[in-house]
C-alpha cells in the first residue's frame, strides 16, 4: 500500500478536517435544514418547539459525527461484533422487558435513556456483516456454506424485530443485510432461487406471520379507496395534497392539506407530502435529488475504499439511506403499503437522525481513512 498521492496518510486534526468529505457533510446539512424549514411550517410559522429542536439536535449530532470520524476507522472494525451482539441482546431484552408504546414493544427503558435497539440494529447489521466478509477467505465468498453465518446474523434480528412488531424496520434490516451479502459476492446461482423463495415466503408470511394491522395496511395499499377514513386515510389525504399542489406547490406555509391537519403524521412519516404540497413537483424532486446525490456519493465512498470492510460498511449505509428514502416516499405517494419509516434528517424524531448520522460517522471515517489497511493488528 503506497501513499504517493497528496491524499496520503492524514496527520494533524486540521489536516484531517480539511480532508473530510465536505460534499457529503454539506448534503447532510442541506437535508437537515430542509427539515427545519418544514418543521417551521408544521408549527404554523413558529420557531418554538420542533424547528428549533430539530436544528439544534442536528447541529449537536453533526459535531459529534465529525469528531468521531476523525478517529481511526479501524475502531469500527473492532466494535462491529460487540455492537451487533450487544444490540441483539438488547432486542432479546425488549422481547422480555420492553416498554409498550402505541401497541408495539420497541423501547427499552434504561433509566434516563429510552432506547430503540431495533434502530441501532440498522447500523449493527451493516457493521457486523462488513466485519464478517472482511475476514472471509475470498475463496469462500459467495459460497453457500459460508453464506449461512451471515444469513443467520440477518435472520436473528429480523425475527426479533418482526415480533415487536415493526415490519418496516425488519424489512430494512433484512434488505440492508441481503444487499451487503449481494455486494460481497453471493453467487447468482443462489440469488435467483433465493429470490423466488422469498416471494413465496412473503406470500406465506402474509397469511401466517403478519399481524392483522399489517395485513390491513397491505390490503388498503392494494385498494386504498375501500377504506378512505380508516387505514387508507393517510395515503388518500397525502395523494390529494400532492396532486393538488401543482408544479411549484401552494407556497411555503400555504399547504391547505398540511396546515389544516388533513394530513396526519405530517411532522414524521408524511413530511414528504408536505414538501410536495407546499413546494410542488419541483420541490419534491429537489429533495429526492439531494438524497440521491447523497446515496451516490456514499456509494462512491464505498467504491473508493480499499478494504472489504470499508467498502461493505459504506455501501451498507448507502443502501440503508436508500431504503429509508425509497420506502418512505413510496408509501406516502401510494406506491407501497404504509410501514412507518421516517424520511431521515427531515422527519422529526431523534432516533432516525441518530441512526443515519451514526452511519455517516462511519462513512466519513472510512472515506477519511480509506488508505489504511483494515486489520485488527493495526488498531491504534
Amino acid at each position: 500500500m503506497t501513499m504517493m498521492s497528496s491524499a496520503g496518510r492524514p496527520r494533524g486534526v486540521g489536516d484531517k478536517l480539511s480532508r473530510l468529505n465536505w460534499t457529503i457533510i454539506t448534503l447532510l446539512c442541506a437535508l437537515a435544514v430542509t427539515g427545519v424549514i418544514m418543521h417551521f411550517s408544521v408549527a404554523e410559522g413558529s420557531w418554538a418547539g420542533r424547528p428549533l429542536a430539530h436544528g439544534s439536535r442536528f447541529a449537536f449530532v453533526l459535531a459529534a459525527v465529525i469528531a468521531i470520524a476523525l478517529f481511526d476507522a479501524r475502531v469500527w472494525l473492532a466494535i462491529a461484533y460487540p455492537v451487533y451482539f450487544g444490540t441483539l441482546a438488547l432486542l432479546v431484552g425488549v422481547e422480555f422487558f420492553g416498554e409498550t408504546r402505541m401497541g408495539a414493544t420497541r423501547w427499552l427503558d434504561l433509566g434516563p435513556l429510552s432506547l430503540q435497539p431495533s434502530e441501532i440494529m440498522k447500523i449493527g447489521i451493516v457493521l457486523a456483516l462488513a466485519r464478517y466478509f472482511q475476514n472471509l477467505d475470498p475463496r469462500h465468498a459467495g459460497t453457500l456454506l459460508w453464506s449461512i453465518p451471515p444469513l443467520l446474523m440477518i435472520v436473528a434480528p429480523v425475527t426479533l424485530v418482526m415480533k415487536q412488531p415493526d415490519l418496516g424496520t425488519a424489512l430494512m434490516i433484512l434488505m440492508a443485510g441481503v444487499g451487503i451479502m449481494f455486494l460481497a459476492g453471493l453467487r447468482w446461482r443462489y440469488i435467483i432461487p433465493a429470490a423466488g423463495a422469498a416471494v413465496g415466503g412473503a406470500i406465506a408470511a402474509y397469511f401466517f406471520v403478519l399481524h392483522q394491522y399489517q395485513r390491513d395496511r397491505i390490503n388498503t395499499f392494494i385498494n386504498p379507496e375501500a377504506d378512505p377514513l380508516g387505514t387508507g386515510y393517510h395515503v388518500a389525504q397525502s395523494k390529494i395534497a400532492i396532486g393538488s399542489a401543482g408544479l411549484f406547490g401552494k407556497g411555503y406555509l400555504q399547504g391547505s392539506q398540511s396546515q389544516l391537519d388533513f394530513l396526519p403524521e405530517k411532522h414524521t412519516d408524511f413530511i414528504f407530502t408536505m414538501i410536495g404540497e407546499e413546494f410542488g413537483l419541483v420541490g419534491a424532486i429537489a429533495v429526492l435529488a439531494m438524497y440521491f446525490a447523497l446515496f451516490l456519493l456514499t456509494m462512491a465512498v464505498s467504491m473508493r475504499a480499499r478494504t472489504m470492510f470499508g467498502r461493505l460498511a459504506a455501501a451498507g449505509i448507502a443502501v440503508t439511506l436508500g431504503l429509508y428514502v425509497i420506502i418512505n416516499t413510496s408509501m406516502v405517494i401510494g406506491l407501497m403499503p404504509v410501514v412507518g419509516i421516517p424520511l431521515p434528517l427531515i422527519s422529526f424524531g431523534g432516533t432516525a437522525m441518530l441512526t443515519l448520522m451514526a452511519g455517516y460517522a462511519i462513512v466519513l471515517s472510512i472515506d477519511l481513512h480509506r488508505d489504511q489497511a483494515a486489520t485488527r493488528g493495526l488498531l491504534w
Binding site: 396532486g243 391547505s256 413537483l281 424532486i285 467498502r311 425509497i326 405517494i333
Partner: protein
C-alpha cells in the same frame, strides 16, 4: 472452481453500480408517480377539488325570522341574539368537565342541582357536540364569562339567534311556537329532493314553526338563509371564520296581527284560573281583536326543546293548556243559539208578535221538554223569551221553523264552517240536519231533535270563534264577515267587503233587541254584569269615557248579549238520591259549561264577543229560587265578557290607526344592523 480467481472488488463495483441503478430506477418510479398524480389532477381536477372540499365548508347562516307584531306594533315574537356559554367536551377534556362546569356555575351563580345536571348532560353528550351550559345570559354575566375564558379551555361565550315570545302565555295559542325541525321533517325534505332545505334545516340555529301562526306563516316569514365559506381543519372545526365568500341572510318579513295585545292580555288575565276561551271580533272587518284560550302555556319553553317531563305535565293537565279552545274547542252553544233559532223562526214566517205561554215545560212526542225555569215564564214574546231565555218559546218557534231551516240559518251565521285563519285544528263544529243525520245514523231522524237544537243542545257543536262570528253577523245587519288574524303580512289582502246574507233583516233587529234586553234591561239574564259598563259616549264625537256617573251630554255605552249553559251531563237519579242537587256539587269535569255571546256598542255595533267557561257551573239556573240567581251561564261567562268588552269598547281598536310593517321595520332597522 474459479472462486479464488474472482476479483471481489470488481464484483463489488459491478454490483454497487447495479444497486445504484436499481435505486435510480426506484427514484424514477417515484418521480413518475409524483408527476402522474399532478398530471391526473391537471386533467380531472380531482385532487384540487378534494383539497378544496376538505378545506372549505359552507356554513349556513340562519336568517332571523320575521317579527310578529300586534295590531299596534307591540312585539309578539322576535328573533334576537341570545348570549350563551357553551363548551365542547372534547376540548374541555372528560376529566375536567366537572371542574370547568363548576367554575362556570360559580361565575353565573347557578344552583348546585343545575350544575350537576349540566355535568351529567355534558358527560352524556358526544365528544364533539356543543353543549349549552347556560343561555339567556345578561350582558354582565356574558362579560364575566368572557373575562374568565382564558382559564376555561374549551368553553365559548357566544351569541346565537333565539326566537322569543315576550308576551309569554298571552299569545301562546294564536302564535304558537317554533322548534328545531325533527328528523322526520328533515327526512321528508330529503325524500322530496330538496337538499338545500335539508342543509338549512340541519343548522343548529334554525327553528321552524310548529303550531299556530308560526307554522302557518312559516314560508312567508322564515327569511332567506345566508352562507359563509369557512376554512375548517381535519376535525371539522373552523380555523378561519372570515375572508371566505359570504352571503348575508335576508331576514323574514314582519307580520302585523289583528289582535290587540292589550285586550288579549286582559282577557287572559281575566280568565286566569279558569278553563275556557274568549274571542272578540270586529263585526265589520272580521278582524280578531282577542283570541284567548285559558289556561295558556309559555311558548318560550318549547323553543330550545321542552323536556318530556314538562311536556307530559302540560299535556296531562286537566285544564288542557295546550288545547286551543277558542278555535279547536267544540261546545254545545246552549241558549246562545237562541239568537239563531229566533232569526230562523221569524224567517220562517213566525210573526214578531208571536206569543207563547211557558208553564215550565212543553209536551212533545209523548214526553215533557222542560224550560230551565221550572215554574215557567208565563206568556212571553220573542223579546221576553230572549231576555229570560225561555226554552218553551224557542221549542215552539223552532217547531215552526223546522230543523232544516235552523241548520241553514246556523250555517249562514257561520256555524258548521271551518275558518282558515292560520292556526291549526280549527273545528268546523257540527250543525245537525237531515243530511248530517243520514251520514251518521241509519234510523230516521227523530222529530224531537229540533227541540234540542232550538236551545243549542244535542248534537249541535260550535267553537267560541264561530259563536263570535254568529254574533257578529247578526250585529252587523247580516254581513258575511269572516274572521281574520293577519292584518298585514306577505300575501295578505285587505278584507273583501262582506256580502249580504239572505236573512230577514227585520228578524235580526228583533233578535238584537232581545239581546239588548238580556244585557241591558233590568231582568235580563246578564243584566247584573253587563247592564252598566261605566262607559259613556258623546253622541257628537262617539268618544268614549269611563266614569261612575254619566258626564254631561253623554249617553251610556250599552251591549246586547245572550247567556248560555251547555249541559255536560244530566244529574242522574242515583246522584239525586245521594243528595247531589246542584250542578256545582258535581265533580268539576262534569259541571255545565257557561257561555256568553255579546256585541257592542248597541248604538253602533262594532265588536262581537264570545266567552266559554268550561264547567263554569249553573247552580242558580238549574235550581231557581235560590237567592241571587242570575240566569244561564251568566254567572261565570258574562262578567268576563263584560270586562273584556269594557276595555275593547273604551279603547275601540278598530278606529285607531293600526301599525304598518314598513314603519315598524324602519324603526327596528338600526338595531338589526348593529353587529351582534
Amino acid at each position: 472452481m474459479t472462486t479464488a480467481k474472482r476479483d471481489l472488488h470488481s464484483v463489488f463495483n459491478r454490483r454497487a453500480i447495479l444497486i445504484s441503478g436499481g435505486a435510480m430506477t426506484m427514484m424514477g418510479a417515484i418521480v413518475t408517480r409524483l408527476a402522474y398524480l399532478q398530471a391526473e389532477n391537471l386533467v380531472t381536477d380531482t385532487y384540487t377539488d378534494e383539497a378544496r372540499d376538505n378545506r372549505f365548508d359552507q356554513r349556513i347562516i340562519a336568517p332571523p325570522r320575521g317579527v310578529l307584531y300586534d295590531r299596534f306594533g307591540e312585539t309578539l315574537a322576535v328573533t334576537s341574539p341570545d348570549y350563551r356559554v357553551t363548551l365542547i367536551p372534547e376540548q374541555v377534556g372528560r376529566k375536567n368537565l366537572e371542574k370547568i362546569i363548576g367554575e362556570i356555575g360559580a361565575i353565573l351563580a347557578m344552583p348546585q342541582d343545575a350544575i350537576a345536571r349540566k355535568v351529567r348532560e355534558a358527560n352524556a353528550a358526544k365528544q364533539s357536540d356543543v353543549v349549552i351550559v347556560r343561555q339567556g345570559l345578561r350582558w354582565d354575566e356574558f362579560s364575566a364569562i368572557n373575562v374568565r375564558l382564558p382559564e376555561l379551555p374549551g368553553v365559548r361565550a357566544e351569541s346565537a339567534l333565539v326566537r322569543r315570545y315576550p308576551q309569554d302565555i298571552a299569545f301562546a295559542h294564536p302564535i304558537g311556537y317554533v322548534q328545531k325541525p325533527n328528523q322526520r321533517e328533515i327526512d321528508a325534505v330529503i325524500a322530496a329532493g330538496d337538499e338545500r332545505r335539508a342543509v338549512y334545516l340541519r343548522n343548529p340555529d334554525v327553528r321552524v314553526g310548529k303550531s299556530g301562526l308560526e307554522a302557518h306563516l312559516e314560508d312567508a316569514i322564515h327569511g332567506e338563509a345566508g352562507w359563509r365559506m369557512v376554512e375548517v381543519n381535519a376535525a371539522g372545526r373552523v380555523v378561519n371564520e372570515f375572508g371566505g365568500e359570504t352571503r348575508d341572510p335576508k331576514p323574514g318579513r314582519g307580520v302585523v296581527l289583528t289582535i290587540d295585545a292589550e285586550c288579549q292580555r286582559a282577557a287572559m288575565e281575566r280568565m286566569a284560573g279558569l278553563s275556557g276561551a274568549c274571542v272578540v271580533m270586529d263585526v265589520v272587518t272580521g278582524d280578531v281583536i282577542t283570541m284567548a284560550s285559558s289556561p295558556g302555556f309559555n311558548p318560550n319553553e318549547f323553543v330550545n326543546g321542552i323536556s318530556t317531563v314538562r311536556f307530559k305535565e302540560l299535556n296531562d293537565d286537566p285544564y288542557k293548556p295546550l288545547f286551543h279552545k277558542a278555535v279547536t274547542g267544540a261546545y254545545s252553544p246552549g241558549s246562545t243559539f237562541k239568537i239563531c233559532t229566533g232569526i230562523a223562526a221569524l224567517d220562517a214566517g213566525v210573526p214578531t208578535n208571536f206569543r207563547v205561554h211557558c208553564s215550565g215545560y212543553f209536551p212533545f212526542g209523548g214526553r215533557n221538554f222542560h224550560c230551565w225555569k221550572r215554574e215557567g215564564h208565563g206568556t212571553v214574546d220573542l223579546h221576553d223569551a230572549m231576555k229570560g231565555s225561555c226554552d218553551v218559546y224557542f221549542y215552539q218557534a223552532a217547531l215552526r221553523a223546522g230543523q232544516q231551516r235552523l241548520a241553514d240559518t246556523a250555517r249562514l251565521l257561520g256555524l258548521g264552517v271551518r275558518y282558515d285563519i292560520g292556526v291549526p285544528s280549527v273545528t268546523p263544529g257540527v250543525v245537525p240536519d237531515e243530511a248530517w243525520w243520514k251520514s251518521k245514523r241509519r234510523d230516521p231522524m227523530p222529530a224531537g231533535i229540533v227541540l234540542n237544537t232550538a236551545i243549542g243542545q244535542g248534537d249541535l257543536l260550535a267553537s267560541p270563534l264561530q259563536l263570535a262570528v254568529m254574533m257578529a253577523r247578526v250585529a252587523n245587519g247580516g254581513l258575511a264577515v269572516t274572521p281574520r288574524l293577519v292584518h298585514e303580512g306577505p300575501g295578505v289582502a285587505p278584507p273583501p267587503t262582506p256580502r249580504q246574507l239572505p236573512i230577514n233583516l227585520e228578524a235580526s233587529k228583533v233578535v238584537l233587541n232581545g239581546c239588548f234586553g238580556v244585557a241591558s234591561e233590568p231582568g235580563g239574564t246578564s243584566y247584573r254584569s253587563t247592564g252598566n259598563l261605566g262607559l259613556w259616549y258623546d253622541p257628537a264625537t262617539n268618544a268614549v269615557v269611563e266614569a261612575p256617573t254619566p258626564p254631561p251630554g253623554h249617553l251610556q255605552v250599552q251591549m246586547g248579549g245572550k247567556t248560555g249553559t251547555a249541559q255536560v251531563r244530566v244529574i242522574t237519579a242515583a246522584e239525586r238520591a245521594r243528595g247531589v242537587k246542584s250542578n256545582n256539587q258535581l265533580e268539576w269535569r262534569l259541571r255545565d259549561h257557561a257561555l256568553y255571546v255579546c256585541y257592542g256598542p248597541v248604538h253602533k255595533p262594532r265588536y262581537a264577543c264570545a266567552v266559554v267557561v268550561e264547567h263554569g257551573g249553573s247552580d242558580e239556573v238549574r235550581f231557581p229560587g235560590t237567592p241571587g240567581y242570575i240566569g244561564g251561564g251568566s254567572a261565570a261567562a258574562a262578567p268576563i265578557a263584560a270586562d273584556v268588552m269594557r276595555l275593547v269598547l273604551k279603547k275601540d281598536p278598530s278606529n285607531r290607526q293600526a301599525a304598518s310593517v314598513r314603519t315598524l321595520e324602519a324603526r327596528n332597522e338600526p338595531a338589526a344592523r348593529r353587529p351582534a
